[in-house]
Symmetry: C2
Subunit: 240 residues, 2 copies
């Protein structure tokens, strides 16, 4: 069933009002009709099964029931990545949403060839919303605005497990992922990889270097590998 993310103020006790681009999606992309059903998820991840009652400049839906779901991964995974091109960032973001990551942080690194000031975050947010609707998540992945490299120092303090993906180590995710689910931050370099000084800094700030295997992954593949492995290792909210 098609899902739409809404705000709590779009809900009155029994009616949800869908607005803006979602109206276009319902009418012209999905070509829905009166009586069709949709899922509506609010910002605190409550999901309602609703039936369309009226369609005009807005779509009015009647709440049929609240739905219990467990689409979220049981660990808070954040990927921080050196700035890469718009196309690659969009692909990474879209797949990370599907794979269950909680947040994505673009980081200005020495070898990033991309300008920090030309990023269209609205576009990224739109991709995140679409991917969440498609993959049936009930939380929107957060995409931070790009941060300076040095901010990884303070950011890292929020994560009991903080890793940096690089080739120069024998430690794998098997060695370094914690047994208990928690918050994990994994830093991935831009296309040219990390500068040595950056690796030294991360090390000083308590990040552990992790190898993602013997093959050289492209920068846009590495986050997908990490998120997939976390999905496997920790499972989803309802897993035993």
């Amino acid at each position: 069933m098609q899902r739409y993310f809404i705000k709590s103020n779009q809900i009155n006790p029994s009616i949800i009002t869908i607005k803006d681009s979602d109206v276009h999606h319902i009418k012209n992309v999905m070509r829905m009709r009166l009586g069709d059903e949709v899922l509506c998820t609010d910002e605190i991840s409550t999901t309602y099964r609703c039936q369309i009652e009226a369609m005009d400049a807005i779509v009015r839906c009647r709440i049929m029931e609240q739905v219990v779901e467990h689409p979220e991964m049981r660990v808070k995974l954040t990927i921080a990545q050196g700035l890469i091109s718009r196309e690659k960032t969009e692909e990474v973001i879209r797949r990370l949403v599907e794979l269950g990551a909680k947040a994505y942080i673009p980081v200005v690194m020495r070898r990033s060839k991309i300008q920090n000031d030309r990023i269209n975050y609205d576009r990224y947010d739109k991709i995140i919303k679409e991917a969440a609707e498609q993959s049936q998540r009930n939380v929107l992945m957060q995409c931070h605005h790009a941060v300076a490299f040095d901010e990884l120092k303070v950011l890292g303090t929020q994560y009991p497990t903080k890793l940096v993906a690089d080739l120069g180590t024998n430690h794998s995710l098997k060695d370094l992922l914690p047994r208990e689910t928690a918050a994990i931050l994994v830093v991935i370099g831009p296309e040219g990889g990390f500068d040595t000084a950056e690796l030294d800094q991360l090390n000083k700030w308590g990040y552990q270097v992790v190898s993602l295997g013997n093959r050289t992954l492209r920068t846009e593949t590495a986050p997908l590998f990490v998120a997939s492995v976390c999905g496997y290792v920790y499972g989803d909210d309802d897993a035993n």
Copy 2:
């Protein structure tokens, strides 16, 4: 170091002759010079570190030493997937090479919207070669020509573990991946998913249904998830 895949007949005891499009790559893409070093890998995965001695219509390289490497995943993973668009197939193939899959089999399924007769396999092979060179693999992933759905019956007999990714099950990869490394075949549907009759068939042929988690993965994300998890679970050739 840049790698090139060669045939044994390009090797005489101490000299390797590089030909065709690789010459263009060395001269115009990598802008290498005499004295620069490259890796050359033959079809039985022997790799040589070589030094460029002459560049013309061919590139002549002197073998410096044989190199011992362990870039391969410790399990033979084959992904069979319902035919999807060229762009998506190219992306899947490229990432599967990086992630270590051994073979990719496009399968004609009922909900495939793509024509079997318009596939440019040369282009896929080129992508596989480039991705293998970039990711430092020493085996080229095999891309089969598209097969009819019914061929999965016989194909499946070659794999002690054969799975089909679908939502209607509680069994996860954690339950179904074998402890010992072996040959694994995972079948993934096209964009519209499997037809019920196809799932019944696969079941009859001994395929086990596996869930890839509570989120709905796009067809082009599912193979990357499976390959990443196999990389994590089984590790690489040299892993203990």
